[in-house]
């Protein structure tokens, strides 16, 4: 047999068969999608139908999850991942990728097509007006609708993830955490703050991921909002200079990237079916380093210009115009990279494209993790059988096996500490650890020889 021939067959009826619960669940979710479409094309605008939308989405998703996992034993559930169209870059994956990309393009650049209007919203955005009014007293914006759908995705697919990994306490706790931070900190509190006419603020969204934190309008807004605004300003700065480095020292960047962050939250829940699509090639690692540090540089430069402009009122520095740089960053990084490519391409490039190649916050945390953190993934002596499950299911494209098979600790700036490598390992080889670093083995491969563990090279 030629080794390059892929052994997998296009699909297996057995692994993709749907039971009655799953079929009903999918039907209900389809109903929700139809309602969204009808709303988008202005065919329906009724709070009652909005309630139907929520009920059928939640019920459909829960029913599907239950049908999928209820009759399975607790344990790893990757059967058929490489055969299913949606998770192996098949037709369904491409359709989904195009649809998500289109949605992001509309959100960022053509919100009026979604129904956003100054006077009265129509279409999809108008459809969600009642919820927005309930939460913050205003009509919905495209970002409100996005927030609702985003939060729904994290909660419902988070429940699916928890069901899938119910045997693994780390996965369960981590997922409850991202669900909480998305629902309460990223969605409810900011909306309620908006309703109270206070500055919209997501307390966990830190600079430089929150790249507008130091923009003049944002600073002015905070300074004009009394003691609450002052608190947000101080909290925002403290997060960057104190809270984040301390937490990263003790726990690694995972405290943020796979426990708190909204982008991470979506990747870990909605993106779970696509985690194995990340490239593990050394060449991809090279691209990753160039891109992510370039974005970080861009973010720092832009912020420096913005702050300089704030204090001096001068927007021109050498050949750079502060306002132009800010505009470029917003367009290329804030919208195109993190949104369109980051999520739109989930089914094709995997769920962590933004986190791996673009996020400036991940870049900073990564540098801290690599050089000033206790966090590492330890490998268990000589038990590794090089099967490749760890590398395959690493959403960040780390070739975990490369380290595991030589007994070396894994300390990589990109690792978000999701713990899935450890979960899928069939030989109990990997463990996420952040105890005192006396056992950190970075010096070189450890070989089990003559009954001893020795560092070689």
């Amino acid at each position: 047999m030629h080794p390059d021939i892929n052994l997998s067959i296009a699909s297996h009826s057995a692994t993709s068969s749907l039971n009655i619960k799953m079929k009903t669940g999918l039907a209900l979710v389809s109903l929700s999608l139809i309602l969204l479409f009808l709303a988008l094309f202005n065919q329906i605008q009724h709070p009652f139908l909005l309630i139907i939308f929520f009920i059928s989405t939640v019920a459909g998703s829960l029913l599907y999850t239950n049908g999928l996992y209820a009759n399975t034993t607790a344990g790893i559930k990757n059967n058929g991942v490489m055969f299913k169209s949606i998770s192996s870059r098949g037709a369904i994956a491409w359709v989904l990728g195009v649809a998500l990309t289109a949605l992001y393009i509309l959100l960022y650049w053509y919100p009026q097509l979604l129904g956003l209007h100054d006077k009265a919203n129509t279409g999809l955005i108008g459809f969600f007006d009642p919820v927005s009014k309930l939460l913050n007293g205003h009509a919905a914006s495209q970002w409100f609708v996005y927030g609702v759908l985003y939060t729904l995705a994290i909660i419902l697919l988070g429940i699916k993830f928890i069901y899938k990994y119910r045997h693994n306490a780390y996965q369960v706790k981590r997922t409850i955490s991202v669900m909480f931070f998305q629902l309460v900190i990223a969605f409810l509190i900011p909306e309620i703050l908006g309703g109270l006419n206070m500055p919209y603020n997501d307390f966990k969204n830190m600079w430089p991921l929150n790249y507008y934190f130091f923009y003049d309008w944002h600073i002015d807004q905070l300074l004009g909002s009394g003691s609450f605004g002052m608190f947000v300003l101080v909290w925002g700065i403290l997060s960057v200079v104190l809270i984040s480095p301390v937490l990263t020292y003790f726990y690694g960047k995972r405290w943020y990237c796979s426990w708190v962050c909204g982008c991470g939250g979506l990747a870990e829940t909605a993106g779970d079916s696509f985690r194995h699509l990340s490239s593990k090639k050394v060449s991809a690692w090279r691209i990753e380093r160039v891109l992510i540090y370039s974005v970080l540089f861009f973010a720092v430069l832009m912020t420096a210009l913005v702050i300089y402009q704030y204090f001096t009122k001068q927007s021109q520095v050498l050949f750079l115009d502060s306002f132009k740089v800010r505009e470029w960053y917003g367009f290329y990084i804030g919208a195109a990279f993190s949104g369109v490519i980051g999520v739109g391409f989930y089914p094709i490039l995997g769920s962590r494209v933004w986190c791996r190649f673009g996020c400036p916050m991940a870049a900073i945390l990564g540098i801290q993790q690599r050089f000033f953190s206790r966090f590492r993934i330890t490998t268990n002596g000589s038990q590794c059988i090089s099967c490749g499950n760890c590398s395959t299911y690493c959403e960040m494209g780390i070739d975990v096996r490369w380290y595991a098979q030589r007994g070396q600790d894994i300390v990589r700036s990109s690792c978000v500490g999701c713990g899935v490598c450890s979960a899928v390992c069939p030989r109990g080889v990997l463990k996420l650890e952040n105890g005192p670093i006396k056992t950190k083995k970075l010096e070189g491969p450890i070989l089990y020889q003559d009954g001893e563990f020795k560092i070689v090279e």
Binding site: T15, N168, G381, L432
Partner: protein, 431 residues
């Protein structure tokens, strides 16, 4: 000119040998394999079938690695070895000269002369080609039989279940793997097999495989006289060294290729490593043929050292191993006998749900810790190894148990419960 090393077989042993040769020398290295051009992890075959991975995911090194490290790869079948003339002959007719030859040809699946064992849809599971035929013959079928209750057997069962195929599992012993495992551990696995609705038939052997007119398997006949309809039969009754092509070459063989402690055969420049090697004098407590991943690795490295003249005896250290039965992980460190003998004592603990189990074994007189079996629990290899190296007594091991915990964070601890039940039974040891 640099000496030329030819390695036959690109499994974990041959590849580890090649890699270490490259680290230690500038020798000219060629690895020959008929099975595949690139090294892949044989232990991951099951995951390809189950759809967890594709074949390329099971390759531990990217394809450019070999060229970068100047390790030549040749996908050819070797016909004969000519040790007196220092060359090998390929089936394609080509001759390849060598200064050193490393035989790392692995195993082949056992067949014990059953009627029908060569029918279509009857096979072992060892190599990529087996996986391909299994894919072909299990497509769309409803029933399959697996014969032989070892590790490959239970993995094959799991593979078939992933395609919703009903499996009839014939195990010669009265309890799964009880020649290796003590009764409690073995029983845990029996229960799992039943839980997965496998038709487990203990104490049952294969008599005959029946076929249709096209020569395709249709049913098996068991030693208990039952006929079971099935369109696929996996024969997983162990493996034997794959050495037919050297048998008349002058290289000494028995079940495997005979080697000394330096992995050297009766020819000074020919080495044999991994599944195909058989030790003239096995190390104490170890088998003459070791068919384990990590021993293949250690043997590959040892042979590499000996080839470049850094004399080194094979020394695998304390026995250890691991496996996964469905969702149940198993690790073992040191020696745990399947049956307790006079000189040893042991203690078995199991949690209430029956999902975790831990057995400690020690020498009765000296109370020195000898080994352990962990079921559904991950333990730290280094700590267990240290206990064994230091002749630690059992009371200390029990006390220090949590030092060896390698379970993921937030997993429920079991140490206190274990210690409490241990103390109840063995107060004399702990006080």
């Amino acid at each position: 000119m640099a000496p030329k090393v030819v390695i036959i077989g690109n499994g974990i042993s041959g590849i580890t040998c090649a890699r270490h040769l490259r680290k230690l020398s500038n020798y000219d290295i060629t690895v020959i394999s008929a099975e595949s051009k690139y090294f892949f992890s044989r232990t991951a075959l099951m995951y390809i079938y189950m759809g967890h991975m594709k074949e390329e995911h099971t390759r531990p090194y990217e394809n450019h690695f070999w060229e970068q490290n100047r390790i030549g790869l040749l996908q050819k079948k070797v016909a004969t070895v000519h040790p007196h003339e220092n060359y090998i002959l390929l089936e394609s007719g080509e001759q390849i000269r060598y200064d050193y030859l490393v035989l790392a040809t692995g195993s082949r699946s056992n067949k014990f002369g059953w009627p029908g064992q060569d029918l279509k849809g009857v096979q072992g599971l060892y190599n990529l080609q087996d996986l391909e035929t299994m894919e072909q013959y299990t497509s769309g079928i409803k029933h399959a039989a697996v014969v032989g209750g070892g590790l490959i057997g239970i993995e094959t069962v799991e593979m078939l279940l992933s395609r919703n195929i009903h499996v009839h599992f014939l195990v010669r012993e009265n309890s799964f793997w009880n020649l290796v495992m003590p009764p409690d551990e073995s029983e845990m696995i029996n229960k799992l097999i039943y839980h997965h609705q496998v038709d487990l038939r203990l104490g049952t052997e294969l008599k005959e495989i029946k076929s249709d007119k096209e020569g395709r398997a249709t049913a098996i006949l068991t030693s208990k006289g039952d006929t079971i309809d099935c369109s696929f039969v996996a024969l997983t009754v162990g493996v034997s060294p794959n050495i037919d092509f050297v048998k008349n070459s002058g290289i000494h063989t028995d079940r495997g290729i005979i080697v000394d402690d330096y992995l050297q055969t009766n020819f000074k420049n020919i080495f044999a490593i991994g599944d195909c090697a058989q030790f003239k004098t096995p190390l104490p407590g170890r088998k003459p043929i070791e068919q384990v991943w990590y021993t293949g690795k250690i043997q590959g490295e040892t042979a590499a050292r000996n080839i470049v003249g850094l004399e080194k005896k094979y020394n695998p250290g304390h026995w250890f191993n691991s496996a996964k039965f469905f969702d149940l992980e198993y690790q073992t460190y040191g020696l745990v006998p399947a049956q307790k003998d006079e000189s040893t004592d042991w203690f078995w603990w199991q949690d209430k749900k029956g999902e975790k189990g831990l057995r400690l074994v020690w020498e009765k007189n000296t109370k020195i810790f000898k080994g352990l079996n962990a079921m559904g629990i991950r333990l730290r290899h280094e700590v267990c190894n240290q206990w064994l190296n230091n002749n630690t007594t059992i009371d200390i091991v029990v006390k220090e148990l949590s030092k060896a915990n390698f379970d993921p964070e937030f997993f429920k601890g079991y140490e206190k419960e274990f210690q409490r039940s241990f103390e109840v039974k063995y107060q004399y040891i702990t006080v």
